[in-house]
């Protein structure tokens, strides 16, 4: 299905290109017109990877293509490429029949014309630094609207009118906080906006951006990419504690931590000078890999698998590159050699993977430990001082006196003197000596200290090893076949790494993860700001400006609005990587605020809405489907953070895996927490989440699929939690009436017809219908 969308994108762009030619016949552009054809059909055998290269010919480098006589600029008739793509001889025809690839006549003509025009190459767009569009006056209109509307204008399309005000507040609330507005919030906003739209809308944006639920909503976006879940995965899938990392993400986003710092702390927080507890917690990003606890395994194999995952995930999340492709061989399409994969691997090969206790901010564990040592010394000294007294008392006891003693003391008496526990000693002191209270106080303090020191949450972190492991390239990615040794470095096709030997944590003048993290957020990096802005955009419009949000390489799709993407990237860095400032910029645009209602001319010209002549209806993410039902029924707990919780599950779900896991349903408000706090066992994820496409944390997820299935219907109709929410909603209906209950779900009043349909039902069924409406679980 993804494939289909993807090809449609190319198809669409091709159509666009053809339409443009007809008008003005501008020169072909390599990146826009030619590269997609070559990359899809030729580079596999005539590209970057020497092992798969055929006939010693590469077409991805102009000089080599010319040297091989494949391309003769200005002379298509003599260029071998043109000859071979038109060949009647199936042995000669390119691409070869067995590749299952073929060129259309239009593509053949494009190649011919491009060679005739001089066969100019361009560096791959994503590897060139973003630049502000030339000669564009952005002072009058919002830049986003400028770029989107210019493209619409080219295609004779008009943007849609603004969404209705109730739709707008619901859309914005769901996009920024994941929680629908209350009917009162809707009314207040509509009233204020009717008075003076812009200030009312600005105030709404600021209110939502400063809501602590903003951090929750956008944390889930990031946690997908971080492959966060609450268990170790693989077959044994034991529970783990790493929710402190999840809470760190929420806090960082609520504080609008600049994204460069956000990146550095997650990739290398432990290596920062005087790293704080929070900065160490942040390194949990790369501890979200699975741990195999199955019997009989080779642990090194699975450690290496997790390092592979860290390299690939870093590449996908921050660079938008399929770095993982180079694990076994040189990348076939992008300039990443296998050796370079292992040079990145080396950065992630030098860590221990400890579990860290997390103390509250006002607790100093060292001080507590000192105090505990003192208390224990006091206890021993006291026992020693009173030893004699105790034995005399013991000796003097008559049989009757002994029998009259409590069971605890009698047991203590039966224990040999050197084996008596402090508790037993206390019991004896209490009956044998006068000043036992001091001992009791110390003992109580000791226990208290023990709790404070040991019964604290833990989290998984990274910790650099004192001496680095050797890293080798693995032949075919097989760790049993090490080849030459490699050291830490970044891919040569990208900007150089600025590495200062002074970095105090570096190993023998070798760069560390910290240098890698700084390299990623360097202003010279052409990828990261674009890649992340593209994924932010995707949240608002259902699709990125680059549709292949995890592949900005030559196999990825081209940006539909390249100038817009560059504007977003540059503006973001200009605003010191503030995510909130970019949210503000996007949601203020008319492009964001327009109606999502489809129109015939859009449906005809741009059925997949690449050009954004309208907003997009988006089914809510899995967690938000739950949050929505909790909100409308009035049950939602607003509590933020803390250990993951266990809302009721259908029977039998936890018995699917190898090890049957307990699921003790949370009590009180923890039963009604937001979906993002539900405990997720990777091997048996909660069905109400996975049925709505929540990722299971096996690998990074940069875009969720939005499926639409009968199992989702069964969940909303029959799941015991959703039924409980519906039952609770009947109270709202009885108290406030059907109209208001409807409005809680959709932010609008029902029409007469709609109300009539609902009124025919009993109250419980009416409530169930409201929870099940497509509109309820959709952000319009």
């Amino acid at each position: 299905m993804i494939r289909t969308v993807y090809s449609l994108c190319f198809f669409f762009l091709a159509v666009v290109a053809t339409a443009q030619e007809a008008d003005t016949s501008p020169r072909l552009e390599f990146n826009r017109d030619v590269r997609p054809i070559l990359s899809e059909n030729c580079y596999y055998c005539h590209g970057n990877d020497p092992k798969h290269r055929m006939a010693d010919l590469r077409l991805d480098v102009r000089d080599e293509a010319i040297a091989g006589a494949a391309i003769l600029p200005g002379d298509p008739a003599s260029s071998l490429v043109i000859d071979r793509i038109h060949s009647d001889d199936t042995d000669q025809l390119m691409p070869p029949v067995e590749s299952n690839k073929s060129l259309t006549d239009a593509q053949k003509e494009t190649l011919r014309r491009w060679i005739a025009e001089g066969a100019e190459y361009q560096p791959h767009w994503a590897f060139a630094e973003p630049k502000l569009a030339d000669a564009v006056d952005l002072s009058d209109t919002h830049p986003i609207d400028y770029f989107v509307q210019s493209k619409l204008h080219e295609h004779g399309l008009r943007p849609s009118p603004p969404a209705e005000l109730h739709t707008l507040i619901r859309r914005l609330s769901l996009d920024l906080t994941g929680i629908p507005p209350t009917p009162a919030e809707v009314d207040n906003f509509v009233a204020a906006a009717q008075q003076d739209l812009e200030p009312a809308y600005d105030a709404l944006i600021e209110r939502l951006l400063s809501s602590p639920h903003y951090g929750e909503k956008w944390a889930r976006w990031w946690l997908d990419q971080a492959r966060y879940a609450d268990s170790n995965g693989y077959s044994v899938d034991a529970p783990r504690q790493i929710w402190k990392y999840r809470d760190w993400v929420i806090q960082a986003l609520n504080n609008d931590m600049p994204f460069d710092q956000f990146t550095i702390e997650q990739l290398a927080g432990d290596l920062l000078p005087h790293a704080t507890t929070d900065q160490k917690i942040a390194t949990g990003f790369h501890r979200n890999t699975q741990i195999n606890e199955e019997g009989g395994i080779d642990r090194e194999q699975f450690r290496i698998d997790s390092v592979f995952d860290r390299v690939a995930t870093t590449g996908t999340v921050w660079l938008g590159l399929t770095v993982g492709c180079a694990q076994c061989h040189d990348h076939k399409f992008d300039p990443i050699e296998q050796r370079e994969f292992y040079q990145l691997f080396a950065f992630f090969n030098n860590q221990d993977e400890p579990t860290m206790k997390v103390y509250p901010a006002d607790v100093d564990p060292a001080q507590l430990a000192d105090e505990r040592n003192q208390v224990r010394a006091n206890l021993s000294a006291f026992a020693k001082d009173h030893n004699e007294e105790l034995s005399e008392w013991e000796k003097a006891l008559t049989v009757e006196e002994r029998q009259a003693l409590s069971k605890g003391v009698r047991q203590a008496l039966e224990t040999s003197m050197d084996k008596r526990s402090p508790n037993q000693l206390l019991a004896m002191f209490e009956v044998a000596i006068d000043d036992s209270a001091t001992y009791g106080e110390w003992l109580a303090r000791d226990k208290q200290l023990d709790v404070q020191l040991n019964q604290v949450p833990t989290t998984l972190v990274m910790q650099e090893r004192a001496s680095p492991r050797e890293t080798h390239r693995f032949i075919n990615g097989d760790f049993t076949r090490p080849a030459e040794e490699v050291t830490e470095s970044t891919p040569s096709a990208l900007h150089p790494m600025e590495f200062h030997v002074s970095s105090e944590q570096s190993h023998d003048q070798r760069p560390t993860r910290l240098d890698l993290a700084k390299w990623i957020v360097s202003p010279r990096n052409p990828l990261t700001a674009r890649v992340i802005m593209n994924r932010v955009w995707q949240q608002y419009f259902g699709r990125g400006i680059v549709e292949t949000e995890n592949d900005f390489g030559s196999q990825g799709s081209l940006p539909t609005h390249p100038e817009l993407l560059d504007w977003l990237a540059l503006t973001w860095v200009d605003h010191e990587w503030s995510l909130k400032s970019m949210h503000r910029a996007i949601v203020k645009s008319n492009t964001y605020r327009q109606s999502s209602i489809n129109r015939p001319e859009i449906k005809e010209q741009d059925p997949n809405n690449y050009l954004l002549a309208r907003q997009q209806r988006l089914r809510l993410d899995a967690e938000l489907v739950r949050d929505m039902a909790l909100s409308v029924s009035g049950l939602l707990s607003p509590k933020i953070g803390g250990p993951s919780v266990f809302p009721p599950l259908p029977d039998g779900v936890m018995g699917q895996g190898q090890v049957k896991r307990a699921w003790n349903v949370s009590a009180g408000e923890d039963k009604f927490r937001r979906g993002m706090y539900t405990f997720v066992y990777r091997a048996s994820p909660p069905p109400t989440l996975s049925v709505f496409d929540a990722p299971e944390g096996f690998s990074t997820c940069t875009r969720r699929i939005r499926s639409n299935t009968p199992l989702q219907s069964l969940t909303l109709m029959n799941d015991l939690s959703f039924h409980e929410f519906a039952t609770e909603l009947t109270k709202v209906i009885e108290r406030d009436g059907l109209e208001l209950a409807f409005k809680r779900c959709t932010s609008r009043m029902p029409s007469h017809d709609e109300l009539e349909i609902l009124q025919k039902l009993d109250t419980l069924n009416a409530a169930r219908v409201l929870i099940n409406l497509d509109e309820t679980i959709t952000r319009e």
């Binding site: 077959s235 699929i705 029959n718 409406l773």
Partner: protein
């Protein structure tokens, strides 16, 4: 009940009201062209109602339509069931020549792995016109050997359970790849309108290692993931109405949701709403059809006896085999049965002396009954039956309190029936100890390619793009259809 006609009328009414307001309508033209919201959507690209499970055309004419995969989770011992190796018995207790094991890796290398050969204690005989060797553990299977296609040189890449199970199911040991059932329903859709296209049944004391990822859809949409039919409680999670809700109330719910959704569809022109209306209708049908499916008590006593089902209401591998036939009968595309505890390392809980015979008894009669029952219902020619585990077991023994064998990936046995597989042959020859293939190794990727081929799918072309790559079930290194085992 809301008939297609009623929905169409509704649609028209909304269309008209919308037009009278002077606002253009969008979705309706396509909806009206179809004439029905609930009728099954066919594989027409322009179709407005996207049913992801609608039947799709094959790449080339298919020999089979359905698959039933009997998965023996843990790794059954081919050397005690199918592979007759007198030399192994003769050299029992002697170390295996180092030439066999040099450079190989095994599970439990640092602890219980042993290098002494272990001869089978079972007695073997030849059966059928083909004279196929089978041990005394499988008295029923031995009667139908002439209908089966044995491959004794199956080969996989991974030797730990969960990754190996994934490899057998998804062609990769990595979590998050689509399983074969997901690929097949993605490629072909399903012929069944009121049950999921890919169904999973489980027996044995616990779930298989790996859990739900074994039938996951990975990078494919969740529409294609396997739906476990459970033996206790609801056969499908959340299948039953909530306690206080009657069927009539449920119907009213589905109707009201449908009507209101349709209004929204008219209002917004978003085709996804049409898909959702369909999903509610199918969900409602499933609520009736799934319990009907599970009602095996309606089968004749003779059928129950054939499978060896003592109590039709009690969960067992045998009952799951019968359910598999009933599922295929209803057009379900891919049925996978997991039977657990085939991991016979030796020791008190999973050894070759006591527990392997018990497992064989659990599955022998029912597996062979399934093949016969499918045949007499005329379903075998369209259905590929697959029997096997994630790997086999070593010729070397593990001698603990009792004996067992370690995981083995170089050669193990699977069998196939129906679906255009050539009956009565054994493909591949292993060496004197059954350690590795001497002739015709059959890698898991080749087996996958062959199964897809029979279903009319070219494994090269059945792809999905993710992270810059075209992913396929058979991986990147190439796979071959094993023509020799096909009719």
């Amino acid at each position: 009940m809301q008939s297609p006609t009623m929905l169409r009328d509704l649609t028209r009414r909304h269309f008209l009201s919308r037009c009278s307001m002077g606002v253009g309508s969008i979705a309706l033209s396509t909806l009206m062209a179809d004439g029905s919201l609930t009728r099954r959507a066919h594989a027409d690209e322009n179709h407005s109602i996207k049913n992801p499970l609608a039947p799709k055309p094959t790449h080339f004419p298919a020999k089979a339509k359905n698959v039933i995969f009997l998965f023996m989770a843990g790794g059954p011992s081919q050397l005690d069931m199918f592979e007759y190796k007198p030399q192994l018995t003769a050299l029992n207790g002697k170390p295996i020549p180092e030439s066999y094991t040099a450079g190989k890796r095994f599970a439990f290398m640092d602890s219980s792995h042993r290098s002494d050969l272990l001869g089978s204690k079972r007695s073997f005989a030849q059966y059928g016109e083909t004279g196929t060797w089978v041990s005394d553990l499988l008295p029923h299977t031995s009667k139908i050997v002439d209908q089966l296609t044995f491959v004794s040189t199956c080969k996989t890449d991974l030797f730990n359970h969960a990754p190996a199970k994934l490899f057998m199911n998804a062609g990769s040991g990595l979590f998050g790849r689509p399983s074969m059932g997901a690929w097949v329903t993605y490629g072909l859709g399903s012929e069944c309108e009121d049950l999921p296209g890919f169904v999973v049944l489980q027996s044995g004391p616990r779930g298989p290692r790996g859990g739900a990822v074994l039938w996951g859809s990975g990078i494919l949409p969740t529409s294609y993931q396997g739906v476990p039919l459970r033996n206790h409680g609801d056969p499908i999670v959340n299948l039953s109405n909530p306690d206080s809700i009657s069927t009539q109330q449920q119907r009213q719910l589905v109707d009201a949701v449908g009507e209101l959704n349709l209004k929204r569809l008219v209002e917004t022109g978003d085709d996804e709403i049409a898909t959702r209306i369909n999903a509610y209708e199918m969900a409602f049908r499933m609520q009736t059809s799934a319990p009907e499916l599970m009602d095996t008590a309606s089968e004749t006593q003779e059928t129950l006896d054939l499978y060896g089902i003592k109590d039709p209401n009690e969960s067992s591998f045998a009952r799951n085999c019968l359910l598999a036939r009933r599922l295929v009968e209803r057009g379900v595309r891919f049925v996978q049965l997991y039977d657990t505890n085939w991991d016979h390392h030796g020791g008190t809980t999973e050894n070759l002396e006591t527990h392997l015979p018990e497992k064989c008894k659990d599955i022998d009669q029912a597996s062979s009954a399934l093949v016969q029952d499918l045949a007499r219902h005329g379903l075998l020619e369209d259905t590929i039956v697959i029997w096997g585990g994630e790997f086999g077991r070593t010729p070397m023994g593990e001698v603990r309190e009792s004996t067992g064998r370690n995981h083995h990936i170089d050669a193990f046995t699977m069998w196939f029936a129906g679906g255009g597989f050539k009956p009565g042959i054994t493909h591949g020859v292993t060496d004197e100890f059954g350690f590795g293939a001497v002739e015709n190794p059959a890698h898991v990727h080749d087996i996958h390619a062959t199964i897809l081929h029979q279903l009319g799918l070219d494994h090269h072309r059945l792809t999905v793009r993710s992270q810059g790559l075209d992913f396929r079930l058979t991986g990147v290194e190439g796979a071959n259809v094993i023509q020799e085992i096909l009719s």
